[in-house]
């Protein structure tokens, strides 16, 4: 008797939760003198409304390129980005309507370089309001700026300060306030805390989680810190050299990592307690380095470093297979 109820629930969930973002076979290639850099090479994922989707990978794996392409800073070489089920936003960002630009906002990694040093905090926060015509006159906008500052728990006196006068954590708060100024529904967080200390990071992450509940935001959370990912993301994707190795719900992901690269990543994290130590896969020892994205090895791009390498790995690129519900992996070990 339980089974039909269970299926019914799933159907309801599917019907109610729309995908806010769908990325289909996205490719972004850069043409350089050294050759073609395949920064993003055919990735698929979707983000449900109100969830945090985590994207993890080493530097040079193309995580940021994904975010920049979605927000419209880059034009995709191939593939589609669908927003809210029916709006195709994969064309040139200049053709993207203003109303859609407002919906997708981004927070960059380093607040020191993403805030204009010659603008005051007021100017920085007022700019998106001006662009998107929020707040009718100057006074209205100032009130909105004050609201935003209050929201990120910064004192009102900061309004006439310059970014260089405030601390790194506070700068990142301003960057977040700027992203939320236009009332977006999808926020791309490109390593928002990697330049900050842990004590500041904790505060900022808690604030982001609170905003998500309050404004029903969806996040694409990019980071290289897996333990942070465990605590914020509901689903996690691992990226390696422009391709996704594994996508899984966060709890499943850390209990049962399948791809050898994921296992290698998990076993390399420095942890602080014995319970965490017990979660780490033991047998995998990290070897080798991420190859240059100009010369991606043939077959599976990870086979040089893979401890479970087989013959087929150097010849054929594996295809994505679904192991459990929502848990997909791209590895020859799991293809039948």
């Amino acid at each position: 008797m339980r089974l039909p109820v269970f299926y019914f629930r799933i159907l309801v969930v599917i019907a109610l939760t729309n995908n806010i973002l769908l990325v289909d076979q996205l490719k972004k290639h850069f043409f350089t003198y050294q050759g073609i850099v395949k920064a993003v090479d055919g990735i698929n994922f979707f983000i449900k409304e109100g969830e945090t989707f985590g994207l993890v990978g080493e530097s040079g794996s193309g995580k940021s390129t994904v975010a920049y392409t979605v927000v419209g800073m880059y034009r995709p070489t191939k593939g589609k980005i669908i927003y809210q089920g029916d709006k195709d936003i994969s064309q040139d960002s200049r053709k993207r309507p203003l109303a859609l630009k407002k919906e997708i906002q981004i927070v960059f990694q380093d607040p020191g370089t993403s805030l204009n040093p010659s603008m005051t905090i007021k100017d920085i926060l007022e700019l998106p309001l001006k662009v998107h015509n929020i707040g009718k006159n100057h006074e209205g906008r100032i009130n909105k700026v004050k609201e935003l500052l209050e929201m990120v728990q910064l004192p009102m006196s900061y309004i006439y300060k310059y970014p260089s006068m405030i601390g790194g954590g506070e700068k990142q708060m301003v960057a977040i306030a700027r992203a939320l100024a236009t009332n977006p529904s999808l926020v791309l967080l490109d390593e928002p805390t990697s330049a900050l200390d842990v004590s500041v990071q904790a505060k900022l992450i808690n604030m982001l989680i609170q905003f998500q509940k309050e404004f029903n935001l969806s996040y694409l959370f990019i980071t290289h810190d897996l333990s942070l990912m465990r605590n914020v993301a509901s689903r996690v994707a691992i990226m390696y050299l422009g391709k996704l190795c594994e996508i899984a719900p966060s709890s499943e992901f850390f209990k049962n990592p399948l791809h050898p690269y994921t296992q290698m990543l998990l076993s390399s994290i420095p942890v602080i307690s014995d319970e965490e130590e017990a979660l780490k896969p033991k047998k995998i020892i990290s070897t080798g380095e991420i190859p240059s994205p100009v010369n991606i090895p043939p077959g599976c791009s990870f086979h040089f470093r893979c401890p479970k390498k087989m013959d087929i790995c150097s010849r054929e690129d594996p295809i994505i297979t679904e192991i459990n519900e929502g848990h997909t992996v791209r590895c020859h070990l799991y293809t039948k």
Binding site: A202, S268, V271, E276
Partner: protein
């Protein structure tokens, strides 16, 4: 217990700047015994690197001034050494691995030139080495840090190597001249997790093989946990806690260490702690008394007036906080 190899006593380092004097280090006490692996943990800007630079006398003076304190290496004060003695220490005894290997290597010379220079200046026997001997030694150290294809690496420029390889080269250069003490100033921070793991394992192995002491600086507590025997926690220019590594992670005592440990995201999930409100004080006008008191939730009136000395809580655990002043009653004012 073996004799202390390096002992820093009440070290003050100030910087003269336009707006006044930055009182960065405020009475640092620090001991490393031979063969010991010591971790130093703290947030950005708390003076970890300044302390280490003071040990190597790499601080440019002015603007830096050292008004008080001594740094004893095997009983001799590094701060009062003449140039020849200092060079001797840098050549043979202590070497340092910097945070950013890209900045530590000179981009216009090949790796070969740079390693061979290090070999030439650190000749331990006192006689001049021949060219091929120097090269053989350079290749040998590159082998030790498990870099493949050593001949080719010697001819390469730093830009032709990846981040992990560059850091290995830096470690190999530290090994050439060391030594009795290797200072690793966040050796993995600019690298990816998997590479960082490799580098730290390598460092641990090599230290064991050559029987050297290590000071490992990091702002990530997890890194320190597997690498060290004892840990110092530093906040705003002074040590706040000293404990055996296991002890510290099991029972942090200082409110700052507790906040720091709680703020670290866990792999087991379950959310993130609150973090610590506020930020590191300005050094031009640091708070009186305990420098942590404006951020401390358990601050008492005494914290505002007096700087807490180290209180010994147990055999392996000392903490600089007035909350523990009656604990055991054994106050050691270092």
């Amino acid at each position: 217990m073996s004799k202390p190899l390096l002992e820093i006593k009440n070290l003050h380092v100030w910087f003269k700047v336009f707006g006044g004097i930055l009182k960065v280090l405020d009475g640092v006490n620090f001991t490393v015994r031979s063969g010991e692996k010591v971790g130093l943990v703290g947030e950005a800007g708390c003076g970890k690197t300044t302390t280490m630079k003071a040990i190597m006398r790499l601080l440019s003076m002015p603007p830096a001034i050292i008004p008080k304190g001594e740094i004893l290496f095997k009983g001799k004060d590094i701060l009062r050494m003449n140039q020849a003695e200092l060079q001797q220490i840098r050549k043979e005894k202590i070497s340092m691995i910097f945070q950013d290997p890209t900045a530590a290597l000179n981009p216009v010379f090949t790796i070969g030139t740079q390693i061979q220079d290090a070999v030439r200046f650190s000749e331990r026997s006192g006689r001049k080495m021949k060219k091929d001997e120097i090269k053989a030694r350079a290749i040998q150290v590159l082998k030790e840090v498990s870099l493949p294809d050593q001949e080719r690496v010697l001819q390469n420029y730093p830009i032709q190597l990846s981040g992990g390889m560059r850091q290995r080269v830096c470690i190999s250069m530290a090994l050439v001249s060391a030594s009795e003490l290797i200072i690793g100033d966040e050796p993995g921070t600019s690298l990816d997790v998997t590479i960082k793991d490799q580098i730290l394992k390598l460092l641990k192995e090599l230290a064991k093989k050559h029987d050297t002491s290590i000071i490992l600086i990091s702002h990530a507590l997890g890194t320190v946990k597997n690498m060290t025997d004892k840990v110092y926690v530093m906040y705003a220019g002074a040590m706040v806690e000293l404990a055996k590594t296991k002890e510290l992670f099991a029972h942090p005592l200082h409110p700052y260490s507790q906040g720091l440990l709680a703020a670290i995201p866990r792999l087991t999930g379950g959310g993130i702690g609150e973090g610590i409100d506020g930020h590191i004080p300005e050094y031009i006008n640091p708070p009186k008394g305990c420098r942590f008191h404006p951020r401390c939730k358990q601050a008492m009136p005494i914290c505002k007036d007096k700087k807490p000395p180290f209180f010994k809580v147990s055999e392996n655990h000392e903490v600089a906080c007035f909350l523990f002043q009656n604990f055991g009653g054994d106050c050691i004012d270092k």
